[in-house]
Amino acid sequence: MSTATSNQNIATRPGPVGLAVHCKGVTKHFGKGDSKVLALRGVDLDIKYGELMMLVGPSGCGKTTLISVIAGILDRDAGECTVFGADFANLSGGARTKWRGANIGFVFQQFNLLPTLTAAENVAVPLMILGEGRHAAVKRAYDVLATVGLADRGKSLPSQLSGGQQQRVAIARALIHQPRLIVCDEPTSALDAVTGHTVMRLLKGVAMAQDRALVIVTHDARIFGFADRVASMNDGSVVSVGTPAELEAVHRH
């Protein structure tokens, strides 16, 4: 898919109707027999269009498993889960991979930039996966790098960038193909407080749009304030969903 086509798809997308993500009774287990672990125990969660949802909770509570199921990289055992109306369970492996490539952007905790590619080339990878030619993809990558304030670092290797800069490159990579859902796993945990806030401001500023949704898994209480809503998870279940202020009030009491 070329950039032009990609842009055209976005322009001709129907207006946001219904929910961006709808999960109901989602369960997921790992292992077998005595070592079987129930990671998700009937999770119900809805994410609206234009919403930044944070998933918070202690380690091992199922946050990462839930975003993996939402992003279609893990199969659920039971329940319903649709993303922009599409149910991964109804898609073949190849179709699911293709759908994911076109519609979901990822930001990882450890950035997962390819160390031998320059920043611009890393940003261009999703477009190349979608079939865009290298030169056009890299050219477009420079434009997106400019939106995250790294226009002058396009030729730098990841090892030549600071942690904050690498995460900004990862954000640019997650945005370049204009996905509708952006999934972030602990995007600020490897960063100091100031850089973490910068990254969150950037995410909120450049990633949010009315036809998009953003899901962020985090432990970092310092960034809860950026969320529209926060879903608290514990032991494989969503125990509460509310605004950051509501969450703070609950914690205060």
Binding site: T64, I67, S68, A71, I73, L74, G93, G94, T97, K98, R100, G101, A102, I104, F106, F108, Q109, Q110, N112, L114, P115, T116, L117, E121, V125, P126, M128, I129, L130, R134, D185
Partner: protein, 407 residues
């Protein structure tokens, strides 16, 4: 994504060179050892190639290879000449005789006696003199390597000690030259020419002379004729395609064997019989085979281990691009591309090094013959190494869960 695959590969220079060098080492060892083996085997029938002329070699049925001469009585020659389809049949003497050099030392030489009348089957290339000079009294032609090597005369002083140059090194020996006199089995021989022949397996100096002179040099025996060289008669009406010609020659061989009880083989078949003898009855192929197999195994181990390590180190990156929408078939394509690139580069470097080795050692005692077939065999071996090396990596990448990126 091919670009990404290549950048991932060459970006990690240490591992890239590790894989390439592993493959290059294997390619070099396989090519070099195979070429030396082929070179050695070629030397075993070097005399047959040099003689060239006869369509058919006739010999005692017990002969196993070219140097395994079982002398026949001269009467056999006439029987062969009587077989229908034989245009000409000439005797050939081949034997190891001891030559006494001008300085009094002795050297075993391979003496070839050519038919007096036709002098057919002589050396393929004359450097000095002509083959016809063999008709001069006591005339012999000596091969260049022998003349400059084992038959060369060391420079000695009156006390028999080597004469030294200004740097204290012994002066180089003086090559045997036209006009020098040898003694072969106490019979006088005069060098009338210097020729060039293929090196033989035994690497002894080769001395050509006439058949009658050769049997005069040889110790008196009842049987002295080593081979009968037969030229097949051709009929203008016979089909002249190579296949038809070969069939005619084979038919003539069968007739000669039937009528004379001797063994008759076309030159190519005799060469193969010689090679097969060395393959079957000497440890040479095993020794070279072990080196080739070792090269293959070491190359596979180095390349496979490094390739697997390379993939393991990048597994999260592969997981990330898988999560971002890269299909398994695309990932397979990326790994295969990486394997093909390192395979081609390693193969090129390896055969280049082997060819360089062959070029440097050209003209030396070392047998080295690089055949296109050897390059093909090495190519197949390297392809196999790449397949084996990338197999584990392929499995690892295909099995990787994209969810690994969240761990």
């Amino acid at each position: 994504m091919n670009f990404v695959a290549l950048k991932m590969l060459v970006g990690d220079r240490g591992k890239y060179f590790g894989i390439v060098l592993g493959i290059a080492f294997a390619a070099m060892l396989i090519t070099q050892q195979s070429s030396i083996f082929v070179g050695l085997m070629t030397r075993t029938f070097g005399f047959i190639t040099d003689t060239g002329y006869p369509d058919i070699w006739v010999m005692d049925p017990k002969v196993q290879f070219i140097d395994d001469t079982k002398p026949m009585q001269d009467i056999r020659l006439y029987r062969v000449r009587g077989v229908e389809g034989v245009r000409s049949a000439v005797p050939l003497y081949k034997g190891i005789l001891r030559a006494r050099l001008p300085n009094g030392t002795f050297q075993n030489c391979n003496v070839i006696g050519l038919d007096d009348a036709t002098l057919t089957g002589g050396p393929p290339k004359m450097i000095q003199g002509e083959i016809a000079y063999l008709r001069r009294a006591d005339g012999v032609i000596v091969d260049k390597v022998g003349a400059e090597g084992r038959l060369a005369r060391p420079v000695l002083d009156d006390q028999g000690k080597p004469v030294l140059d200004e740097q204290g090194k012994p002066l180089p020996p003086i090559p045997l030259k036209v006009g020098d006199v040898l003694e072969i089995n106490d019979k006088r021989a005069i060098v009338v020419g210097i020729c060039q022949v293929q090196r033989t397996f035994q690497s002894q100096p080769v001395i050509y002379t006439t058949y009658s002179r050769a049997i005069n040099f040889a110790p008196r025996e009842r049987r002295l004729m080593s081979f009968i060289c037969v030229d097949a008669a051709t009929n203008a009406n016979d089909p002249q395609t190579p296949e038809a010609k070969a069939a005619n020659i084979q038919a003539l061989c069968d007739r000669i064997e039937q009528r004379t009880g001797l063994l008759a083989l076309p030159g190519k078949a005799f060469s193969w019989k010689t090679v097969m003898y060395f393959i079957k009855f000497t440890g040479i192929p095993i020794n070279f085979g072990i080196a080739v197999v070792l090269g293959f195994l070491v190359g596979t181990a180095i390349a496979g281990q490094t390739f697997y390590q390379f993939t393991s180190d990048n597994i999260k990156q592969f997981g990330a691009i898988k999560a971002m929408g890269t299909s398994n078939s695309r990932l397979l394509g990326m790994i295969v591309l990486q394997a093909v690139v390192v395979g081609l580069v390693g193969y090129g470097l390896g055969i280049g090094a082997a060819a360089g080795f062959g070029y440097i050692t050209k003209g030396s005692e070392l047998a080295f013959r690089l055949l296109p077939e050897t390059l093909l065999v090495t190519g197949v071996a390297i392809a196999l190494i790449c397949v084996l090396a990338s197999m584990l990596a392929l499995v690892k990448v295909v099995r990787v869960e994209p969810a690994i990126v969240f761990k």
